[in-house]
Symmetry: C2
Subunit: 190 residues, 2 copies
């Protein structure tokens, strides 16, 4: 943890580190009802934003150094880069090998089809950590403790509404995640 803290304070700033600690607390609290290994939650939560360089040229350079291929959506909505980049950094610089943790980092911004429970946990903890404040967030918070799949659908819906309002691009992974979760809810499958 000290290594990660040092890395954050050096590269990403104190604000990002404080957010990370809130996501960690939220994920541990939520995760306690799902029987996931706490160490996995800790690693995924602490590292989920390790690729979030605010300087755009640094972000692009780092992504290039890991040979991340940017699709049109990522190129035009650079906030989508830090998840995939973070997974690479977590592996190379922090020695994370568990694919479940790496996926939780990679897809924490968009979600995706067929998410593991750890992936769901990190996605939703990042979305509802206590300092997040916007219209609709309270319903997501309450729902997260009762039905994490429904909470993720609500979170994606809020995100889509926001992207439409701002005339921004919409991630296909997010749409795939939403469709997948809705179909599973209809079928009663988790």
């Amino acid at each position: 943890m000290e290594d990660i803290k040092k890395y954050f304070l050096k590269n990403l700033g104190e604000k990002r580190w404080n957010h990370t600690l809130r996501v960690l607390d939220t994920a541990l609290e939520l995760g306690s009802t799902h029987g996931i290994n706490k160490e996995k939650i800790r690693k995924a939560a602490l590292l989920h934003d390790c690729g979030k360089f605010t300087d755009k040229s640094k972000l692009l350079k780092k992504a290039g150094s890991f040979d991340i291929i940017l699709d049109e959506i990522m190129t035009n909505n650079t906030d989508l880069i830090h998840g995939p980049l973070g997974a690479r950094i977590a592996k190379k610089e922090f020695g994370i090998e568990d694919p479940d943790i790496l996926n939780a980092i990679e897809f924490h911004t968009t979600a995706r089809k067929n998410m593991s429970i750890l992936e769901k946990l990190i996605f939703i903890a990042d979305f509802i950590e206590p300092e997040r404040q916007f219209k609709g967030i309270e319903e997501v918070r309450t729902t997260a403790y009762k039905d994490i799949d429904r909470a993720i659908i609500l979170a994606i819906d809020l995100t889509i509404d926001f992207l439409i309002l701002k005339d921004k691009l919409i991630s296909l992974d997010a749409i795939n995640a939403r469709n997948d979760l809705i179909i599973r809810l209809w079928k009663g499958v988790n």
Copy 2:
């Protein structure tokens, strides 16, 4: 045209035929400013809904007879089937060979990436024909005559809002269309 009318009245009902005529008028009116061959517009508009069987078992049987592979989204949102099915019927039963007309029929419900001007015209004419009445439609109507790409983005946004409200699945073709049009608008490319 008499053949098509006969087919509609026999298979799809008078209401569907009347809608078709309104889409035809709208498409011709809109199309006059885009210099597209009127005969192409006529064929695409008259046939755009030729696969719209309201009886679900008939719709699925017909789709099966053309070996249309239904993805998860189509299986769970059967309204997305009539476009692809209509294109097959237009080819087989009405002898349409022009791929541009067939694509305009196939993608008139969802839109898609890289649409031709005919495809855009049929999509938006179907969306704004005079009997369509819902919140936001007037802005799409006005915009369609000034900037068809922006009108399609608005139409897709309204559709997504509706699908979110109804907890329904969202078509990936629609998201791809929207992202593509937004990127083109940013770049100033049509």
